[in-house]
């Protein structure tokens, strides 16, 4: 369980230090094992975009899930260091580049992994498929569907953290009532209804929703910050993912 943490996303260059990249790098010097665990956790978090990409190649759900599993096994058993990964660009690009290389290997050399690394299977296929069907349109290119799924995964991570924070602060009911309005404005009358449901004044509801949205944005930035190495990269990633989601 990741504890609720303050937004690790200072918008300025000088404040930009504590990204997962840099933390893992620093920890690696002292404790390679825990650095590796953090890295594995980071990789596995992007299971869904990889699955989406492979589904887009025309495979069935089961085959896509099996290929996704093979890919992560291959990636993790290579024991890449953080420096290796950084040399290959942003994390999003790194995962995609490695994937296309993995898929393009000569079929005649397809063999068993020497040592299959152990990791928890992060998603079941029904859940993945549900998200894939909901989030990815059929006319997207493979790369576009990857970007989009990656963006959805980042937002999903932020949402999960927001929920945990709300839960820890004893505001779970409020969070659940307001969640549908994080990215969609309430229709006329819905604010009042929300206020009645939460037993607070309409004006307080407006303020609470505004804060929740602000915190959601911060957490989405915090998620992204874990996958880039500089503030400039963060800004660029924000743009790429917003465009993948069709947000101006």
């Amino acid at each position: 369980m990741v504890p609720a943490e303050p937004a690790a996303t200072p918008a300025t260059n000088e404040g930009f230090a504590a990204t997962r990249w840099t933390l893992v790098a620093a920890a690696g010097a002292q404790d390679p094992a825990s650095a590796r665990r953090a890295l594995i956790e980071l990789c596995l978090r992007y299971w869904f975009p990889v699955y989406s990409y492979i589904r887009g190649c025309g495979h069935t759900q089961e085959v896509a899930q099996d290929i996704t599993r093979s890919y992560f096994e291959d990636l993790l058993q290579r024991k890449l260091s953080l420096d290796d990964m950084r040399a290959r660009g942003r994390f999003r690009e790194f995962i995609l580049n490695e994937l296309t290389r993995f898929l393009a290997r000569d079929w005649r050399k397809t063999g068993e992994q020497a040592a299959v690394p152990e990791f928890d299977h992060p998603h079941d296929v029904e859940q993945l498929e549900h998200r894939h069907q909901r989030g990815v349109a059929a006319d997207l290119s493979l790369e576009q569907s990857y970007q989009r799924s990656y963006a959805l995964e980042v937002l999903g991570g932020a949402l999960a953290r927001l929920r945990r924070e709300a839960d820890q602060a004893g505001h779970l009911a409020m969070f659940e009532a307001m969640e549908p309005f994080l990215s969609v404005d309430p229709a006329p009358g819905q604010f009042e209804e929300l206020a009645r449901q939460l037993k607070i004044r309409p004006l307080a509801t407006v303020v609470a929703l505004k804060r929740l949205r602000q915190r959601f944005r911060e957490l989405a930035d915090a998620e992204l910050a874990e996958t880039v190495a500089s503030a400039a990269d963060l800004e660029a990633e924000r743009k790429v993912l917003a465009s993948a989601l069709g947000v101006p």
Partner: protein
């Protein structure tokens, strides 16, 4: 059938000499060009037959007509391909076939007068990129054409597998080149080959990828310019996606 069986990024950087460019570019009577045309006509007989069957005559007649068409074509040789602007063997063949049908009598007379003097003109407009009804002779032609291309590529894949000592794996995976396996079916195969399911799934993906490359190579043999290849690939995709009528 897969939704996007041949969606691949173009990878061909340098366009090589193809069998069809050899035919087009050769002066008449070149041995190499003649051989290339012979081969192309032998390989691409099925679409002509499919067209003629759908066109009307009873089966025996369609076989005879196909035979007569190719005899005519090979006798006329490079006269027939005097228009290099056409570029694509598939279009050439279809136009020549339509010409052949409408001019059967004229050809017969010309042949009686000594043969070889008639030239096929390729100025018929063939619609390119239009969806073709599979119930029409053109649709049947397109579909049979696509099937030949894929079969040729699959044969090449089999030869590669054999050379690499991977024939058993290839044969086990062959049914999944165009169709997806159902989960139980492929769990069974994994067990039989003593492979993990994950590994088998990756092998299926890579084998398909290689098939796509070989399909492109096969197709490349029937065009003269790299940019025609994309159009031909779309035609093939469409023909394979259309249910046979």
């Amino acid at each position: 059938m897969l939704s996007k069986p041949f969606q691949v990024p173009p990878t061909m950087s340098r366009f090589r000499t193809t069998r069809w460019s050899l035919v087009i570019g050769a002066r008449s009577g070149s041995l190499k060009a003649n051989r290339a045309l012979d081969e192309l006509c032998r390989v691409y007989r099925p679409p002509v037959l499919a067209f003629l069957r759908r066109h009307g005559p009873a089966e025996g007649d369609a076989e005879d007509l196909t035979q007569a068409f190719f005899e005519q074509l090979l006798r006329l040789r490079t006269h027939a391909v005097a228009d290099p602007g056409r570029g694509r063997f598939r279009v050439f063949l279809l136009v020549a076939l339509k010409r052949f049908l409408s001019n059967q009598n004229a050809f017969a007379h010309a042949a009686k007068r000594g043969g070889g003097s008639a030239t096929l003109s390729l100025d018929d407009e063939v619609q390119v990129g239009q969806p073709t009804d599979p119930a029409t002779p053109e649709g049947a032609f397109e579909r049979a054409w696509a099937t030949v291309i894929v079969q040729q590529a699959a044969h090449q894949l089999q030869r590669e597998a054999s050379a690499a000592g991977k024939l058993e794996l290839f044969e086990a995976l062959r049914p999944f080149l165009l169709e997806s396996p159902d989960p139980e079916e492929y769990a069974r195969i994994a067990e039989r080959l003593a492979m993990r399911r994950n590994t088998l799934a990756v092998a299926i993906h890579r084998l398909r990828q290689r098939l796509r490359e070989l399909v492109r190579e096969e197709m490349a043999d029937t065009v003269t310019e790299a940019d025609q290849l994309e159009g031909e690939m779309s035609t093939l995709q469409r023909a394979l996606a259309t249910p046979s009528g």
